[in-house]
């Protein structure tokens, strides 16, 4: 019994000390709010604006049915390709749809190639044309996408990953946004397909839901979309060809988004909308190791693109003031600088302050993050989600999310350091070394 008493005493002590520090900690809240509030407001108003626009769009009948080419970038996905092709064939879009499965390194990836061929021979549906384009020599993602772009005959090009399948109204929703001639590209929404596989996939499901359905939907209303996902994006083919298609190096999706944005100042009417209800379902990494590698790559590439490749073009002259400021605050500061600040700050506090202070600090940070995530989650659930019942099941996992988020921030730091010091983008697995070697150095 005495042990229990001791533990109780310790907890009570921590709590009393923590509340003391907690009051002190609350001083940071206004700072946090000052930084995060604009984002809150932008996203919340954006979501409301989207709801109105979406309701209006649905009422208006459309007769715009251009031919669409879906480029599937296949590598070693195997049987998953079939699900992807089937879900594209299944689209309720009334126009012609060309489905091009580009198999990179078809010599090594015989199985994937065979599955794609099997689909081409067996699946027959009116207005759906399946083609398989084997790239015998492996050349990386960018070459696969550009090969598909070269073969595409449609007016709209949708690039999709081979392990991503789609809701059958996806094309209907995407194409409607292209009816506006000022739209060169549309971002597609992604959901996690394997939500229940592990705790990691559940966390990622919340992350995708909040950042995609919430963040991107809201921001896109102000034309501030940060990235058109490489797993699912749509482009006007002529525009895409005009700006040279996808560029070599890693993170070709972010690179392309940045390059499109560089036309914003010169063509102020251009906008990149986000097709919130055009849903693609993708498999998220279900163990920590795979997730770690994925994030190391993503975050490292972010730094490479912002600070190395597109640094000279980072100017309001090209982006326009709105995009420039937004990218500065929430692209550079939040994603590149903040993780360092947080890490350094954490280490310094750990050295200087007593443990009670650190516990209180963590509690405060946790609370802030929890409320933030809870707020956005509720916003998405009530305002955006097309599968509210399914998404509601994630609610019980929300308290774990701030911890997940912290882990991701730490990984991000390592990734940034890795890129800064080791130029990790040059060792990406997205293209073979002989291609990466020849890419322009930044």
């Amino acid at each position: 019994m005495s042990e229990l008493n001791t533990i109780w005493y310790l907890v009570a002590n921590i709590f009393s000390q923590a509340t003391e520090f907690f009051t002190q900690m609350m001083m940071f809240v206004p700072m946090y709010l000052a930084y995060e509030m604009p984002l809150f407001v932008l996203i919340t108003l954006g979501v409301l604006k989207w709801r109105r626009a979406n309701a209006k769009l649905l009422k208006k009948p459309s007769h715009y049915f251009p031919k669409v080419s879906c480029i599937i970038t296949c590598y070693a996905e195997g049987d998953a390709v079939k699900t992807t092709i089937e879900s594209l064939v299944e689209q309720t879009y009334p126009g012609e749809v060309e489905i091009i499965a580009v198999v990179d390194g078809a010599v090594q990836n015989k199985h994937t190639y065979a599955v794609a061929n099997f689909c081409m021979k067996t699946i027959k549906r009116t207005k759906r044309h399946i083609r398989v384009l084997p790239k015998w020599q492996r050349g990386g993602r960018v070459s696969t996408l550009n090969a598909g772009l070269d073969a595409a005959k449609g007016d709209i090009v949708v690039n999709v990953d081979a392990d991503t399948s789609f809701d059958n109204d996806m094309l209907c929703r995407i194409v409607r946004l292209f009816e506006d001639p000022n739209v060169p590209a549309v971002g597609g929404a992604l959901r996690v397909r394997n939500v229940t596989s592990s705790i990691w996939t559940r966390m990622q499901a919340i992350e995708y839901l909040v950042s995609m359905q919430g963040g991107k939907t809201g921001l896109a209303q102000w034309n501030l979309i940060n990235n058109i996902s490489g797993a699912f994006g749509a482009f006007r083919k002529d525009f895409l060809k005009q700006i040279g298609g996808w560029d070599t190096h890693t993170a070709e999706d972010l690179d392309l988004t940045i390059r499109i944005k560089q036309y914003f100042k010169r063509h102020p009417n251009l906008k990149i909308p986000y097709a919130t209800l055009a849903i693609g379902h993708t498999d998220a990494p279900d163990d920590f190791k795979t997730l770690l590698w994925q994030r190391l790559r993503w975050d490292g590439d972010l730094l490479f693109l912002y600070f190395r490749k597109h640094w000279p073009a980072f100017s309001p002259k090209l982006l326009g003031w709105k995009s420039f400021l937004f990218t500065l605050l929430y692209g550079f500061l939040q994603n590149v600088m903040l993780p360092f600040v947080v890490l350094v700050y954490l280490i310094v506090t750990m050295i200087i302050y007593p443990w009670q202070f650190i516990v209180s600090l963590s509690l405060v940070i946790f609370t802030l993050y929890f409320f933030t995530i809870a707020y956005f989650y509720t916003l998405v659930l009530l305002g955006v989600s097309e599968r509210p019942k399914q998404d509601l099941k994630l609610a019980v996992w929300l308290p774990l999310y701030p911890i997940y988020s912290m882990i991701m921030r730490t990984i991000c730091c390592f990734a940034l350091l890795n890129e800064l010091v080791r130029r990790s983008h040059e060792e990406s697995s997205m293209a073979p070394w002989w291609v990466l070697k020849k890419g322009q150095k930044f």
């Binding site: 649905l58 699900t83 089937e86 879900s87 299944e90 309720t92 009116t126 399948s165 789609f166 809701d167 059958n168 109204d169 209907c172 929703r173 849903i279 379902h281 097309e386 599968r387």
Partner: protein
């Protein structure tokens, strides 16, 4: 050098060049060739000339094809060596190639062959002999089919057409040539299907309802809602943008997750029959017949070359005989006579009974000229088939002279022969046409009067035997 140019000169001095202008003539350096502007001017001037070394054409494509067809049709030039300067659609079929440096030696070779040609003079004007001579004279020549989509037969043989064989008869005609071992297939060019009613190749393949043959069929897909298990036609699920279950109103977003396609059938819009595989009907565009695909006439279109037999025929003029069949044992006349004598002696000793049958056809040449080779060959074929059916493998056959056949039927008394007569009598053509006649004579063996000169005995015995005429 001088010698060479002399022979060159003599060969070309009898050659002609037909072209709209003589530019090519000069560029080839063949100035000694006689130059004509067109076929008419050439014809009036050239009919007098006896021998022609070579004809070179350099005409616009269509004009060239017409000229080639005219030359091959003509009784004077059907075996002339003809070269063209530029390929036209029929030049591969009717000319001997495109003029080049090597063409001269080829032409000279053909000249030599023409002199050696020993085809049977009585039948030299028929297409058979023309074809055999042509294929033998021009080294490596083949009979090539030409594609012609507007024709019912789809393919035709320009050379045969020039020699009077109609496109629709060509394939059967060639088949009988192959059966006679004069030609052999060089390569398979295509396989075509013809309407069973009018033999036209203009077919349209349509998928139809297997129950009422209506062509108005379409795909009918049904969806299965996972939420409530409702199964209904796809169109009932259609909503403004996506799909939704008409029964439980649940939106169906993702195949395999919310719904699947349990049934994908075809449906006839006339009789509403549901089926999986439609029937394919070949609709004839010419006579309107709706053919079952399995009943279409399938024919191979081949290119043909001369066989060893055909070569012998062209080169040595082997006797043309309408009886060519390999059913029975075939021996030559000397052996046949020896056999008769031997069997006669055996029969005398062992009291056996044999028969010798002599079948001959009269007026064959006249008949071919009157009725055409197609009819004649079909008659020969039928005759062969009927004789072949009547005789046994152990029977001995001997082709003695033109259009006649000697058969030795061991252990067959004369009394059994009327069966064979009956079969031959059934041939319609023999009954309907008075010009051609089949005569059969039969001799019984043993015959004690058979002398050592079997040939003489046979001749006399057949003279005396009563013939059964058809």
């Amino acid at each position: 050098m001088l010698e060479q140019s002399k022979s060159h000169l003599s060969f070309f001095s009898s050659s002609i060049f037909i072209a709209e202008n003589d530019k090519a003539l000069k560029s080839f350096g063949l100035t000694e060739l006689l130059y004509f502007k067109n076929i008419d001017s050439f014809e009036t001037e050239f009919s007098a000339k006896q021998h022609l070394g070579l004809i070179i054409l350099d005409l616009p494509a269509q004009k060239q094809d017409e000229t080639l067809a005219f030359l091959r049709q003509s009784e004077t030039f059907w075996l002339s060596t003809i070269f063209v300067c530029q390929a036209s659609s029929l030049s591969t079929h009717l000319a001997n190639g495109i003029w080049s440096e090597q063409s001269k030696s080829l032409a000279e070779f053909s000249e030599t062959r023409k002199k050696q040609l020993a085809v049977n003079s009585t039948l030299v004007e028929t297409a058979v002999m023309k074809l055999l001579s042509y294929l033998w004279v021009f080294k490596g020549a083949t009979l090539l089919p030409a594609k012609s989509p507007q024709m019912q037969s789809l393919y035709w043989y320009p050379l045969l057409q020039a020699w009077g064989i109609k496109p629709e008869d060509s394939i059967n005609w060639l088949a009988s040539m192959v059966r006679r071992n004069w030609l052999e297939v060089d390569s398979l060019v295509n396989r075509v299907r013809y309407c069973q009613s009018c033999h036209s190749g203009h077919l349209n393949y349509v998928d139809t309802c297997p129950s009422c043959q209506s062509i108005d069929i379409g795909l009918k897909a049904s969806l299965h809602c996972f939420n409530c298990g409702h199964v209904a036609a796809e169109h009932e699920f259609k909503q403004q943008i996506g799909l939704g279950c008409p029964n439980c109103s649940k939106p169906l977003r993702h195949i395999g997750v919310d719904y699947d396609r349990p049934i994908e059938n075809q449906q006839c819009n006339s009789c509403f029959n549901l089926f999986v595989d439609s029937d394919v009907v070949a609709d004839c565009m010419d006579c309107g017949e709706k053919n079952d695909v399995n009943n279409l006439i399938v024919q191979s279109v081949n290119s043909y070359k001369l066989s060893a037999n055909g070569r012998n025929l062209a080169k040595f003029g082997e006797k043309f005989n309408s009886f060519m069949f390999d059913q029975a044992e075939k021996i030559n006349f000397t052996q046949f006579c020896w056999l008769l004598q031997w069997q006669n002696n055996l029969a005398l000793r062992h009291k056996q009974e044999h028969s010798v049958v002599y079948i001959t056809m009269e007026n064959v040449e006249q008949f071919i000229q009157d009725k055409g080779e197609k009819v004649a060959f079909s008659l020969f074929d039928e005759l062969e088939q009927r004789i072949a059916k009547s005789i046994r493998l152990t029977d001995i056959c001997c082709v003695q002279e033109e259009h006649s056949l000697l058969l030795f039927l061991p252990l067959t008394p004369l009394a059994q022969l009327p069966k064979i007569y009956q079969k031959l009598n059934e041939i319609e053509l023999l009954q309907s046409d008075k010009n051609i006649a089949l005569s059969i004579k039969a001799l019984p063996l043993p015959d004690k009067s058979m002398s050592d000169d079997v040939n003489m005995w046979l001749f006399e015995a057949l003279e005396q035997a009563r013939s059964i005429e058809f």
